[in-house]
Symmetry: C2
Subunit: 453 residues, 2 copies
């Protein structure tokens, strides 16, 4: 019987476009377009620009892969590094609930860069991306909640996700794919400590995961070997970085359960842990026609993971940090009905936002915590200034598979992100997104954003 | 009171050549020449060649830094990656006992590449290297024995060591250096799992550490921020990867205790955990004039760390794996008086070696284990074919500070390594080593191995 790692590697190596249900293909196209918007949204971000500059200075100066935010070319390794840094900073990229893992920001930068370098077809890109999603999500589920308390799963599981996607494009066989996963997993890294001082590390984590995973796959193609059981072995990732890892999760429903299709889109431009409560607050305010001034207090009933990640952020001082402040997110939602990039940028520290923010608290809730991470339930208790106590509840926050975004909503979101960052003109972005919806017909993956400027 | 991380960062930023005792400068020169031999020894190694090819394909094609084993130029980032991969494969690079950390293979590749790119002076290179050693060794001591049971400390602590060295060359101030350590620590990775199948990951760990640490320092110079307490914070390295971390070790004797000078040279070309027993066996054999045929059984009395790392290797199938086989190392020492590269390459699987190998066992020893990791005591009990039971003991294996290598021995070792690998001709290597002994007088660090070929 092959080990769980070996089964996962074989699945990733042997996956074919013909195996994918149509709904999974369509969902992957949705995820790709949604990711592209997030990548363009990284334009103009200081930490993203730092990593993009580093990649440019250390890289090829030219190359077959596109660095999206800098509108330059580079080798696939360094383009993937820059694009992965770019895709996560707006906090608008997708998330898989059960694994608490953001697949797009590590899978697509690596896969697109290599597909461009190889001239792979759009179908190959989609198939490879599904391989990356399926592997990364299962690795995240395997590593479990104990892992996520200290480690940024997108940084750690992300190395294996990127390796699987790139390995698929490089046509690794099952044994080579296992080596690639081994080399990826032994580079897996990313700690939450940076949140405490609002440091820039989240962008470094995604850059690192995409680049290290890509490197692992290229090395495997060249005969470089990795640990055969990097995930579940006695000195592997779980041994070092988890206390509740479950190897059965690595192979859960391989080929029948499509974890890719379980992935959620982000509607608010904030940490996903804030979304359920934000939607529940919106529900209460709409149902009872409340205005922000009506709010005397909001208790959010949350899972422990939300407290772990958001708890340290009490008085955010940067836009990025405020996306991890439950109070700030709910304050923006209460005022504007949506916590988007523009709302954060213009209002995250306004007097009104701060006043509302300080009325919001988090409380651990047994039902919500028990359902997490498979379901992200939103529950709030609102006390109004006239003394009413109101309850709000959503079982699937906006963007979850049962409450998903339409293609028009995804397109509109991408256009909004580009307009906000200035990473592309409205015309450019509209054309790029229009083209990208037809990716399954592309004979070769070319530049996504048109020619160099 | 600054945190331990902040004190360590300030020390690394503020270190000046004038602060260094003469003995530390001389020792650092010794370590540099010894490293250079190990870097050249990586020539011709398959896994090293894979990483060097990857760096070349993804890199600049030209650049200000020297990739030693491929005799090419590249950006400092990718040259550091290739050279760090090269420096560890022969298992001849240095080790600091107390931290179980190999500083040279992560510090010098990063520091030399950046010094070449900047045209830094030899003194700047030496000072920066000491900063890297002092930081990396203390991080290794801090992470402790629990960390080393699962993690390859050279890969993890190595990211911070490389960041400190490069940060010093880039003249980061104390705050920037703290950011660099934060960005390095959040990329720290490297798991022992690969040993179980004799995979190539050790070369990837050093490549990754040097490159990620270098990147962290460049990013900090560009304003990119990192966690302020990546080491001791509640979601930092110790929280995620150690159960016995002691923050006091991060600042132990900063500026008065020179950990750099405590570093040991390797005499045998094998895992350092085998050296104390190897030297103890040699002592017994020399004292009692034993021949290999006289040995009926050898019990090595070892610390737990030796059992953790060497225990899984029972029947090595590759030269590299055999360097982690206590039995193989002692078999070579018994036959040839020294377990060098040539002995491994030609004899690691000979019938005589295998027969002797299977007579060697490891036993946990309370005294040896209690002294470890500060002292690596070697104790063996030899049973001879004529029924005698003999005991051997060394308190400092050859290469330790109290039993060190002379400059002539270091030069000879470097020449042997070059001859073995073919990475340089005897004349080239002699000239390069002769030049390198005068590094403190160099106005600018240039290529170590002469011009491109």
């Amino acid at each position: 019987m092959p080990t769980p790692s070996a089964q996962l590697a074989a699945f990733a190596a042997h996956l074919r476009f013909e195996h994918l249900p149509q709904a999974v293909v369509r969902k992957t196209e949705d995820l790709l377009v949604d990711w592209f918007g997030s990548a363009v949204a990284g334009h103009g971000s200081r930490p993203v620009a730092s990593i993009a500059r580093f990649a440019q200075v250390m890289g090829a100066g030219q190359g077959a892969a596109e660095a999206i935010v800098s509108r330059t070319s580079n080798s696939p390794y360094l383009a993937a590094m820059a694009n992965a840094a770019a895709s996560h900073v707006a906090e608008q990229d997708d998330v898989h609930n059960g694994s608490v893992f953001h697949p797009a920001t590590v899978v697509f930068p690596a896969a697109v860069a290599v597909a461009q370098a190889m001239g792979a077809s759009g179908r190959d890109l989609l198939t490879a991306s599904v391989a990356g999603y399926e592997v990364g999500i299962r690795v995240g589920e395997f590593l479990g909640r104990s892992h996520y308390k200290v480690f940024h799963t997108t940084g750690t599981a992300g190395t294996l996700a990127a390796a699987a996607a790139v390995g698929h494009l490089l046509k690794l066989d099952a044994q080579q794919m296992l080596h690639a996963l081994g080399s990826a997993g032994t580079q897996a890294a990313g700690l939450w400590e940076f949140l405490r001082t609002a440091a820039d590390s989240k962008q470094l984590h995604t850059a690192h995961a995409a680049a290290a995973g890509l490197m692992a796959a290229y090395l495997a193609q060249d005969g470089f070997t990795g640990a055969a059981q990097i995930l579940e072995g006695p000195q592997g990732m779980a041994a070092g970085m988890s206390s509740d890892a479950d190897p059965a999760k690595l192979v859960d429903g391989l080929g029948t359960r499509w974890a890719t299709a379980e992935t959620s889109f982000k509607y608010h431009a904030s940490c996903r842990h804030t979304h359920p409560a934000a939607d529940a607050l919106l529900q209460v305010m709409q149902q009872h026609r409340l205005q922000p001034d009506d709010l005397a207090g909001v208790v959010t009933h949350v899972h422990q993971g939300a407290i772990d990640v958001l708890g340290p952020v009490v008085r955010p001082v940067t836009v990025h940090q405020s996306k991890f402040s439950m109070g700030t997110v709910l304050a923006l939602v209460a005022q504007f009905g949506h916590a988007g990039l523009a709302e954060f940028d213009q209002h995250f520290l306004s007097d009104a936002t701060q006043a509302l923010r300080d009325k919001v608290t988090m409380q651990l809730d047994a039902e919500v915590d028990g359902a997490y991470p498979r379901r992200w339930i939103g529950k709030v208790t609102v006390t109004t200034t006239d003394g009413r106590v109101l309850h709000g509840r959503v079982d699937e926050p906006k963007g979850d598979p049962g409450n998903t975004l339409s293609r028009d909503e995804i397109t509109a979101k991408a256009l909004r992100l580009a307009a906000f960052s200035g990473g592309a003109t409205a015309t450019e972005m509209q054309q790029a997104v229009d083209r990208l919806w037809h990716v399954a017909q592309w004979p070769r993956v070319g530049r996504l954003l048109g020619a160099d400027t």
